[in-house]
Amino acid sequence: MSALVVFAVAALASFGLRASMVLAGGTRLAGAWTERLPLVAPVMLGAIVASSLTVDRGQATAPSLASLAAVGAAAVGVRRTGSLSAALAIGFPVFWVISAVGLG
C-alpha cells in the first residue's frame, strides 16, 4: 500500500504543477522556468539510468557488461530512429545475446 500512497501524493503534487499556470496566471513564472527546465530531464534521467545499473539496495555495484551494452545500444537506437520503441527492440536482444555467450 505504501506504493499507492507514494503515487497518490506524487499525483497531488503533479496536479499542482499541471494546474499552476491556470491558477497563478501570467507568463512571468513560465519564463523563469523555461531557462532551467531543459536541464531537468537530462539530470533526472542520467541519475536514474546510473542508479538502476549500478545501485542495488543502497550499495554501488559494478554493472554487468550485458546491461551496459544493452543500455548503450538502446540509447543509440533511439537517437538514430527517433522512436522510443527502439530502446526495447534493440536493447533486449543485445542484453540477451551478451548474457547468452557468458559475457553478462
Binding site: 500500500m1 506504493a3 499507492l4 507514494v6 503515487f7 501524493v9 506524487a10 499525483a11 503534487a13 503533479s14 496536479f15 504543477l17 499541471r18 494546474a19 499552476s20 491556470v22 491558477l23 507568463t27 513560465a30 522556468w33 527546465l37 536541464l39 531537468v40 530531464a41 537530462p42 539530470v43 533526472m44 534521467l45 542520467g46 541519475a47 536514474i48 539510468v49 546510473a50 542508479s51 538502476s52 545499473l53 549500478t54 545501485v55 542495488d56 539496495r57 543502497g58 550499495q59 554501488a60 550485458a66 546491461s67 544493452a70 543500455v71 540509447a75 537506437g77 533511439v78 522512436s83 522510443l84 520503441s85 530502446a87 526495447l88 536493447g91 533486449f92 542484453f95 540477451w96 548474457s99
Partner: protein, 236 residues
C-alpha cells in the same frame, strides 16, 4: 508518457474526434513499450498490481511513475520517491501555461479538470492543432479525445507488462526494461553539451552517494546536476 516527434497539424474544419484519433495513434504507439516497462518494473520491484496500476491512473505520468518504482525497488524512502516523481514532472508547469492560453475564457473548473490529463503528447498535439483552430468547442473535444486515447493505451498495457514480469523467467532480463527506456529517453533529452555535462554529473553523484541513508542519492544527484548545469550555462 514521453516526449516524441510532432505529427502534422489537424485540418481546421475536420471533426475534432476524428482529427484527434488520427493524430494520437502514431504518438500512442511508442507509449506501449513504456507502459509495458512500467508494468514489468512493478512486478520486479514487488509492487502489487492494484497499487501500481491504481497509482499510475492517479499520476498519469509514465516517467514519474517509472522513476518512483525504481526508487522504491532500490529500497529508497517514500518521500524520496515522491520528490523524484515531482521533480521529473516539473515540465508540466510549462504545459500548464499552454492550457491557460488555449482555454482562456472557459470556466476555470473545467480547465482544471482537463489539467489532470495533461501529458507531453497532449501538449504537443494540441499546440499544433490549436494553431489552426480557435473554436473553443472544437478544442475541448479534441483535447478530450487525445487524452482518452493516450490514457487507454497507457493504462491498458500496464497489467500486461506486470503479468509478463511475473510469468517470464528471471533470465529474460525484464528488470532491464526500465533502464532501457530511460536510456532511450536520455538519448533524446541530451541536445546540448551542457545537457550531457549535467547528466554526467548527476550520474556520477548518484553512484558516489549510493551508501547515503534514506534514498538521498537521487535528490543529491538532482541538486548537483542542476546546480552545476545552470552554472555552466550562465558562464557561456
Amino acid at each position: 508518457m514521453t516526449a516524441i516527434d510532432n505529427p502534422l497539424p489537424a485540418a481546421p474544419h475536420a471533426s475534432p474526434v476524428r482529427a484527434a484519433v488520427r493524430s494520437t495513434v502514431p504518438l500512442a504507439l511508442p507509449v506501449a513499450p513504456f507502459a509495458f516497462a512500467i508494468g514489468s518494473s512493478m512486478a520486479t520491484a514487488g509492487i502489487p498490481l492494484v497499487a501500481g496500476w491504481g497509482g499510475g491512473a492517479l499520476l498519469l505520468a509514465g516517467t514519474a511513475q517509472l522513476s518512483a518504482i525504481e526508487v522504491l525497488g532500490d529500497g529508497g524512502g517514500l518521500w524520496t520517491a515522491v520528490g523524484i516523481a515531482t521533480l521529473v514532472n516539473l515540465r508540466f508547469v510549462l504545459y500548464s501555461a499552454g492550457l491557460r492560453v488555449w482555454f482562456a475564457g472557459a470556466p476555470r473548473w473545467r480547465t482544471l479538470v482537463f489539467a489532470a490529463a495533461l501529458v507531453d503528447q497532449t501538449f504537443m498535439l494540441c499546440e499544433r492543432a490549436f494553431a489552426t483552430n480557435d473554436d473553443p468547442e472544437w478544442r475541448w473535444r479534441y483535447y478530450a479525445t487525445v487524452s482518452a486515447v493516450l490514457v487507454a493505451v497507457f493504462l491498458g498495457l500496464q497489467p500486461l507488462g506486470y503479468l509478463a514480469g511475473n510469468v517470464l523467467p528471471a533470465g529474460a532480463g525484464l528488470e532491464m526494461a526500465a533502464p532501457l527506456v530511460f536510456a532511450g529517453m536520455l538519448a533524446t533529452a541530451v541536445r546540448r553539451r551542457v545537457d550531457l555535462f549535467a547528466a554526467t554529473v548527476s550520474a556520477v553523484t548518484v553512484v558516489a552517494a549510493a551508501p547515503l541513508p534514506g534514498g538521498l542519492a537521487l535528490p543529491l544527484a538532482a541538486v548537483f546536476g542542476l546546480t552545476l548545469g545552470v552554472s555552466l550555462e550562465a558562464r557561456r
